[in-house]
């Protein structure tokens, strides 16, 4: 029996029923936290905890064996040691389960014995056609369906429109935790790949490409399973949905001696770089930029181009961040004469106003709110500007402005990303973040991050519009 690929993966993200093999009644254990996570996310389908001890876990009756499960459960989440996983997978297929997420580590990534267990998994997959995520994953998530298989205590995961493919457990564990606790954006699907015995990055990407809930895709990858096929798929997807990738392991170590110069130059990373550019994928290099990319793609439109205006209360910042923009491929162009005239109007005459905007004097004389509101609007209006970064000067002494004007401006100019950053009292910045972000305007506590986030969006735009 062969499902189409799309249907086949859909059950992972919209399961009507889930069996948790290896459920536990002990708080802190993976088999317990997995159930708590599903419940915390408001999953509306049926949950069948399976444990030979029976009884009840978190209010759910426990089924004592896989064979005792009702027939045709959509998805099995197998949270058993590696040694027990192949057998459990086979038993699941015998109960008509066609999809399984395998959590255990200890397969080919560890030793010979593990490699043998992985072979056993592949035999079950080959013989039964069961679709498998993992093994060696820490879960997958689907917020539109209120579902997660993650076993790391996460609580409610906010819903968003950007999905993640990760060849690491971090996105179902502590990285997700930093997002849920430190940020205000949500995620759509999160797909842990693990050892990729069945579903690989290409198939995951194909699913997300056709997923109406997914607007953009962020990928962390350590190795390609089918690079040529991945390229074929990705180069079409990036014309509709931005893809950002952190590809790790990018050193010259893989370089081999060869007769031809071309072969000697062809370290794996140079090939990867070429492939990603060819595919229109925006490559990032820092782990923290994964979260930055998620934030930017979740909360902002793609700018039309790379022309940025920023407002800062310091000449040093104007110079430094203009240089920084140049390094990031962002242009800080001159603004039109009307814009210059308006900027000059809001400022004392002893400051020469232009882009970037020196807002210090205006903020001091006319007040922080007036200066930033009028200054931001002037540059947002300008046809030469694609995005605006206000570096807000906030301190208790000079008085906190109402931040509503930032929301109003972002709404009034919906095609132009507004990325807010700060200089001044840390707690004022935190307050501003807490006000703006739940209302849809992203803030960045480090000024550099605002520009880095913008540059990711600019690169996504360029990739999307690239010539065929």
């Amino acid at each position: 029996m062969q499902h189409t690929k799309q249907n086949s993966l859909t059950a992972f993200f919209e399961p009507r029923s889930v069996a948790i093999i290896g459920a536990s009644a002990t708080p802190g254990k993976a088999g317990y936290e997995a159930i708590r996570n599903v419940q915390a996310n408001g999953y509306a389908g049926k949950i069948y905890p399976v444990n030979p001890k029976g009884g009840e876990i978190l209010g759910l009756p426990v089924t004592s064996s896989i064979s005792a499960l009702p027939a045709g459960v959509d998805l099995a989440v197998i949270i058993l040691p590696a040694e027990a996983t192949p057998k459990a997978l086979r038993e699941c297929t015998a109960r008509g389960i066609r999809h399984a997420a395998l959590m255990a580590g200890g397969f080919a990534e560890v030793d010979e014995a593990g490699a043998k267990l992985q072979e056993e998994l592949m035999t079950v997959i080959r013989e039964t056609g069961v679709r498998v995520l993992g093994p060696n994953i820490s879960g997958h998530t689907s917020t539109p369906h209120g579902y997660t298989s993650a076993f790391f205590p996460l609580g409610k995961i906010r819903r968003g429109n950007v999905s993640v493919i990760a060849q690491t457990g971090n996105f179902a564990t502590h990285t997700m935790r930093s997002i849920t606790t430190g940020e205000h954006f949500g995620v759509c699907r999160v797909i842990g790949l693990g050892n990729k015995v069945d579903i690989d990055e290409t198939e995951a990407l194909e699913y997300l490409a056709d997923d109406p809930e997914t607007k953009a895709i962020v990928i962390y990858l350590e190795s390609f399973k089918r690079p040529k096929r991945f390229l074929e798929v990705a180069r079409e997807v990036t014309r509709r949905k931005p893809i950002v990738m952190l590809k790790s392991g990018s050193t010259e170590a893989g370089k081999q001696a060869a007769v031809a110069h071309t072969a000697a130059m062809a370290s794996e990373d140079r090939l990867v770089d070429g492939l990603l550019r060819q595919a229109g994928i925006v490559r990032i290099w820092e782990y923290s930029h994964l979260v930055l990319a998620l934030k930017a793609l979740s909360m902002l439109p793609l700018p039309k181009g790379n022309r940025v205006s920023f407002l800062a209360p310091s000449g040093a910042m104007l110079v430094t961040y203009t240089d920084f923009c140049a390094r990031l491929g962002l242009e800080v162009p001159a603004v039109g004469p009307e814009t210059v005239a308006r900027l000059q109007e809001i400022s004392p005459p002893y400051i020469r106003m232009r882009n970037p905007v020196d807002i210090w004097a205006s903020a001091n004389v006319r007040g922080v709110e007036f200066a930033y509101r009028e200054g931001m609007e002037a540059v947002l209006k300008d046809a030469n500007i694609d995005a605006v970064v206000p570096v807000m000067m906030l301190t208790r002494q000079i008085g906190q402005p109402s931040f509503e004007f930032i929301l109003d401006l972002a709404k009034k100019y919906p095609g132009k990303p507004v990325l807010v950053s700060f200089s001044g009292d840390k707690d004022c910045a935190e307050e501003c973040k807490a006000y703006l972000e739940p209302r849809g305007v992203p803030t960045f506590l480090e000024i550099e991050q605002a520009f880095e986030a913008l540059s990711i969006l600019v690169r996504c735009r360029k990739a999307m519009d690239r010539p065929r």
Partner: protein, 228 residues
């Protein structure tokens, strides 16, 4: 028999420069005018036919990096110079024959190449050529097959992109022709599995912007060759 089949038949691990250029020219890659010569007298005759000044190179199946063994004589302006250099080159170990080439003007050198990766398949390289290839490593790659747009993007990605523009009174490089070379390299590799790597180094940019490959190397995969 075409040079590729001939080389494979003989179990060669690479095509010599002359053979390589024949294969490449068949795919539309612009190559310099050249002729083989067995001895100094024939070299002089070919030089006269091509027109002075000429370049004289030692050629042989095992002579992959000729410059390193002094196997290249540039800018020979007279029959006497050709004769003298021909005699010298023929004494280099591995030198089987001589290659007489037109001397191409222009001091901008590019590299176009191809390598076959176990996972990625044939990959095309572009960058700064000549000695700069090794010194700067200013090269970029694409996975074959390439579109013309892929090739155009590669040109924009090297750090030395200014080399391709107007340069010290010389015309900008013919980017359309360059794109065709890069696309052709991918196509050659997809068509001929036995080709393991190709180096066109240098591809010279003439003062009028036109391009010509003045050196070429095609290395072959012994395993694929053995199967034939």
């Amino acid at each position: 028999m075409n040079p590729l089949d001939e080389a494979l038949g003989k179990g060669q691990s690479a095509l010599n420069e002359y053979q390589a250029k024949q294969v490449l020219a068949g795919f539309g890659v612009p190559t310099c005018r050249e002729a083989l010569a067995r001895d100094p007298e024939q070299a002089v005759a070919e030089a006269a036919r091509i027109g002075f000044p000429v370049v004289l190179k030692a050629a042989g199946a095992t002579l992959l990096h000729k410059t390193e063994v002094g196997g290249v004589a540039l800018n020979l302006k007279s029959p006497a110079e050709v004769k003298e250099q021909a005699s010298r080159l023929l004494k280099i170990p591995g030198c089987e024959t001589l290659l007489v080439q037109e001397m191409i003007q222009g001091d901008r050198e590019l590299v176009c190449g191809l390598t076959r990766d176990a996972q990625f398949g044939p990959c095309v390289m572009f960058g700064l050529g000549g000695v700069l290839t090794e010194v700067l490593g200013d090269t970029v790659f694409r996975v074959a097959p390439l579109t013309l747009a892929d090739a155009a993007e590669m040109m924009g990605e090297i750090r030395g992109v200014k080399f391709l523009g107007p340069f010290r009174g010389q015309q900008p490089a013919d980017k359309a022709a360059l794109a065709k070379i890069l696309v052709a390299l991918g196509a050659i590799a997809l068509q001929h599995e036995a080709i393991r790597a190709i180096d066109l180094n240098p591809v010279k940019i003439r003062p009028d912007g036109s391009l010509v490959a003045v050196d070429a190397l095609i290395s072959l995969s012994s395993t694929v060759a053995a199967k034939r």
